[in-house]
Amino acid sequence: MKTRSALLLGSLSAALVAFALTSPRVVAADKIDPVADAKAFQNFFFKKFPNVKHEDFVNGPYSMNADLKRQWQEKEEFPPYEFALDAGKEMFATPFKNGKTYADCFPDGGIGIRQNYPYFDTKEGKVVTLELALNRCREANGEAPYSYVKDEMASLTAYMAYTSRGKPMDIKIPDDPRALEAFENGKRYFYTRRGQLNFSCASCHVQSPGERIRAETLAPALGILNAMPIYRSEWSGMGTISRRFATCNSQTRAVPLEPQSDEYRDVEYFLSYVANGLPISGPGARP
């Protein structure tokens, strides 16, 4: 095991150096400019994959491989997340002990609003994700919060995503230095290498989308959260954004942080903002 990862380390840094040389002009990015970042991010993928339709990026690996896309479309006829979706719809309508429901916690009764999450809460000065808002709604109504990585949270977010299907991602960054800071933290987390394999999110999802890591084809980073939550055959179950971040970390042998810790909330904020304009396609089915 030791030699294999050292080998990986070596070959990877070689690839890194190559990438660094070819990456577009390097400018001192001291001023945080999300609009420019988002434009550069989207153009990078549009140029790298000219024949992938822009809205197709949200289909992750299926935008990268025709055979996989066929397998996926076959499954979409009767998708495995069907049960989570129905359970989510039922849970969403079931009143809490105090008679209230989730609809009372969310704008527009929680229907068709997923594309605005996560948002920056100026009172709290932090990013609030959909999963966090759902648990806060439960706690505000005297109910125990759900685990961020288990089925109940996945069913709720699956239903809320379903009600927003097709709507373009619409994340706002208020004119507040703390919001810009959160965006920058998210960006830094996305590009920072971690774990003994010394990979960052970008090592897989920017450098080599469309390529394989054993059986799986890597999804492009652009629109990677638009399909969340996802039913993964690998887990033969639903996965929330929190679960995905934790498992990605442990694959690079980095110890995952607590679900909904600041870094995860900020990287979700960054990834969602740069995907603005691309349609929500959740809940999704993935390998």
């Binding site: 499954k75 006829e77 009767f78 495995p80 069907e82 049960f83 039922e90 033969s236």
Partner: protein, 103 residues
């Protein structure tokens, strides 16, 4: 709780296409749980589709059928509005049944 069987039966007048998705773990009995004990085999053995009183399609399944199993087939001799009865039994003796109108 809703039935464990989701079914969609659509007819184009002559041929009825049936799709079914069933909520079931389909455990093979060869997999260990995190504590290292074998999860006992628990899988649907027979799934029957009846229409107008006679079997139109019977599935005999082994442990190699995926979790939350899905099957699609078509048959002739039924028309819109007919009722399709679907029932399954598994190796632990559990069973479930549901009916669906052909759309």
């Amino acid at each position: 709780m809703a039935s464990s069987i989701r079914v969609r039966a659509t007819s184009n007048g002559d041929i009825t296409e049936v799709q079914a998705l069933i909520q079931h773990p389909m455990d093979t009995g060869l997999v260990k749980d995190p504590k290292g004990e074998l999860i006992p085999a628990h899988y649907i053995q027979q799934l029957k589709f009846e229409c107008n009183g006679k079997d139109v399609f019977v599935a005999d399944w082994g442990t190699a059928v995926s979790k939350d199993p899905y099957v699609k087939f078509s048959f002739k001799g039924a028309k819109k509005g007919d009722e399709l009865k679907i029932s399954w039994t598994d190796n632990q003796g559990a069973s479930d049944t549901t009916t669906a109108k052909i759309a």
